[in-house]
Amino acid sequence: MLARTVTHALVGLEPRRVEVEARLERAQPAFAIVGLADRACQEAKERVRSGISASELEFPIRRITVNLAPASLRKEGSGFDLPIALAILAASDQLPPGALDGVAAFGELALDGRVRPVPGALVAAEGVRRGHLRQLVCASESAAEVALAGVEPIAVLHLADAVACLCGLRDPPEWPEPVSNAPPFVPDLAEVRGQERGRRALELAAAGGHNLLLAGPPGTGKTMLARRLPGILPRLDDDRALEVTRIHSVSGVLAPAGGLVRIPPFRAPHHSASTAAIVGGGGRGPQPGEASLAHCGVLFLDELPEFARPVLESLRQPLEDGVVVVARVLGRAVFPARFQLVATMNLCPCGARGDPAARCACSPQRVQRYRERLSRALLDRFDLALTVPRPRGDELAAPPGEPSSVVADRVRGARARLRDASPELTPAASDLLTRAVERLPLSGRGRARVARVACTVAALAGSESVEPEHLAEALSYRPPKELVE
């Protein structure tokens, strides 16, 4: 008595087809799972036994061998429960012959037979589509994700439902349509009083996708500004939304029954984060890190110099290539990580520097050590850097600023202009840039960076070409001398 089901294991962001074979023999009753199954996978035995009994089906009193093929691929997680259970039921003739043709399964079983969702349903469903199968049996919470991949979900609440559907006794239950992602709460720019320079830099960052560094004493609104960036970024298009959703699906941070992630993600890891947490990795198979979770969105590093130096240096590869390559014993994975880096820092370790109302007690050596935690190579990646001084009292009493929606409209316009025809430097602007390179400590990369920002300034102004005043404004956002010297 032999039966087969198909499921998919996740390797990084890639689905791998796994065949689940169950064989029943008349021998001493036993239950063995072979095929490089990890701990969670071995424990499937207990969940499957209990789940089948709870569904008022018969758990066969036989010698049961389950093989997960290919045997060389390491299987992780609890998504194999449902396919194992279905294979055993099919092998014990509790499912009609052919019921499992063209059907894959993916899900975890509860002891009472309910089907629970497992992270990565979207990726598994993409594997199903590529394998030319028709349907995927999954938890009803995962149905929306499965549908995104263009595969028909058999969304079930319980193992008994799954059996009933596969036997043709009933139609698959309706699953909730993906709600068009109720936007997560993003604070509005209107709440920021004053800070015109900071707001301007934020708008430029959004329009040009530039990396932004905000420096200044604590309490000047650096973090407040940064958190409002997603609100003025354009929504993600279909391709990008799918990429982001795939990463979020694998990491299990997707809202249940949510559709595609349309709002650019905003990730703000704490400064105690490890390298693996930021760029991806982990002891088991490689998992995407914060840099990948921020793909097509914003990676926000508050208090940049407090991050461990290796963590910051590890960000250089994704900043350059837009991908993270994680190599582990259990496999190598490539995660997309094209994010926009936004960071804040104080001007000295005690934070008082730059604040006229406080006295800084840091020795020059301490300030230097603090600033040296950031390599020049990393600082070079920030297109926009500005020092935010402490706002004055009357600034905080100012009326609310422009709301995010107005700024977002301008950003969208500028992006469209940059996409169609990027503005070119006029000769006068070129002259100014050459003069600036002579006078300022500006590297080759710095020069290119200034020119890029100047294009964004021009695009925001609706100008066909980059005029000297656009270039001058771009120059004012170069990293401060104290940091690069």
């Binding site: 301007r200 020059p364 020092t387 001084p389 600034e395 001058a472 120059l475 004012s476 104290e482």
Partner: protein
């Protein structure tokens, strides 16, 4: 020639000697000392030795009451570069961003005007003065440790840049460790080499004040940059002003003391500099507003009713012209020349 032997003996014994001691120990040392071999060793390291009796020894330094027995020299320039107008720029190690900026601008403009800037390669004002001067020409650093040492270590690159066009000098032979008591001794050389000493920022008990005192003892001019009366960093400089030091309100004040013509600045510099005649009205408005006092970009924008982007552009252009300087997000007027 016992001068080199004395300098090396001082280094070996950890003493500070400005004359050959009359001791048996030194006599023994002198007899066993191979001067030619030592000079060859120095030359291999790219170092030179100029004894006090050497005609190339700086005349100005010879006139102080305890001139060093000789100078070890590193760098490409000739020691004759300190025979022209020279100015020492000294100040606090833990200086403010403003003080550092003033030191750098003073040093740059004075170097352009033909003066040689001398300082002590310390952190803070000293380093800023050297950096500012390097933008316009060679500068001289005086060390308080062995000539082969870069102290502080963080300034090794700066020292290399100074040596590439100017000079690094020390009265201490290679291998002498930096020690707190050697720095006042170093300061007497800084003051002794300079026609005038400018103190930019100094706390109440600062090494820069020692330099100023030594300069006064030798009858050299002392100038001080006035600061806020409530700031610890101006206690020392304001004290000097009360004692009669010349206040530095613009570069011209220092040039006048040095006997240099304020109009001698090179023409290229003039183009960036005082040419406010041709300043666009947009830039002029921003310049005038900044001249009212240190100000953040946001407040500036509100005060003159320009958008944040326009103000940023104007400030960047004025910075390029050297008319506005930025430190920690606060904009100030650049140092005036006359």
């Amino acid at each position: 020639m016992t001068e080199l032997a004395t300098a090396v003996f001082a280094a070996d014994t950890g003493a500070h000697l400005i004359d050959a001691p009359r001791s048996r120990r030194f006599e023994l040392f002198r007899r066993g000392f191979d001067e030619a071999a030592f000079l060859r060793g120095l030359a291999d390291q790219g170092l030179r030795w100029i004894a006090r009796s050497d005609p190339r020894f700086p005349a100005r330094l010879l006139t102080i009451h305890d001139p060093p027995i000789g100078l070890f020299v590193r760098g490409v320039a000739s020691l004759a570069m300190v025979d022209g107008p020279t100015v020492a720029i000294v100040g606090a190690r833990a200086c403010s961003a403003y003080g550092g900026e003033v030191a750098a601008q003073l040093a740059r403009t004075l170097t352009q005007a033909g003066a040689v800037v001398i300082s002590g390669l310390a952190r803070g004002i000293d380093a800023q003065a050297h950096r500012g001067a390097l933008e316009a020409g060679p500068t001289v650093a005086v060390l308080g440790c062995g000539i082969d040492r870069d102290y502080p270590r963080a300034h090794a690159t700066l020292a290399a840049e100074i040596a590439a066009t100017g000079l690094i000098v020390s009265e201490y032979a290679p291998g002498v460790e930096p020690a707190p008591w050697r720095f006042p001794a170093r300061n007497r050389i800084v003051a002794g080499l300079a026609d005038a000493t400018v103190v930019v920022e100094a706390r109440e008990r600062s090494g820069a004040l020692i330099t100023a005192d030594l300069a006064l003892d030798e009858g050299r001019e002392v100038l001080a940059v006035p600061g806020e009366i409530t700031s610890q960093l101006s206690k020392g400089t304001n004290h000097l002003l009360r004692l009669g030091a010349v206040p530095v309100t613009c570069v011209g004040d220092v040039l006048a003391v040095l006997g240099l013509d304020p109009n001698c600045l090179d023409p290229d510099f003039e183009r960036h500099g005082a040419g406010n005649a041709a300043l666009e009205p947009r830039l002029e408005r921003v310049r005038v507003a900044v001249a009212d006092g240190p100000v953040g970009a946001d407040e500036l924008a509100r005060r003159i009713g320009l958008s944040a982007g326009d103000v940023a552009a104007a400030l960047a252009e004025l910075e390029l012209l050297g008319m506005v300087v930025q430190a920690d997000g606060v904009f100030r007027e650049g140092l005036r020349r006359g």
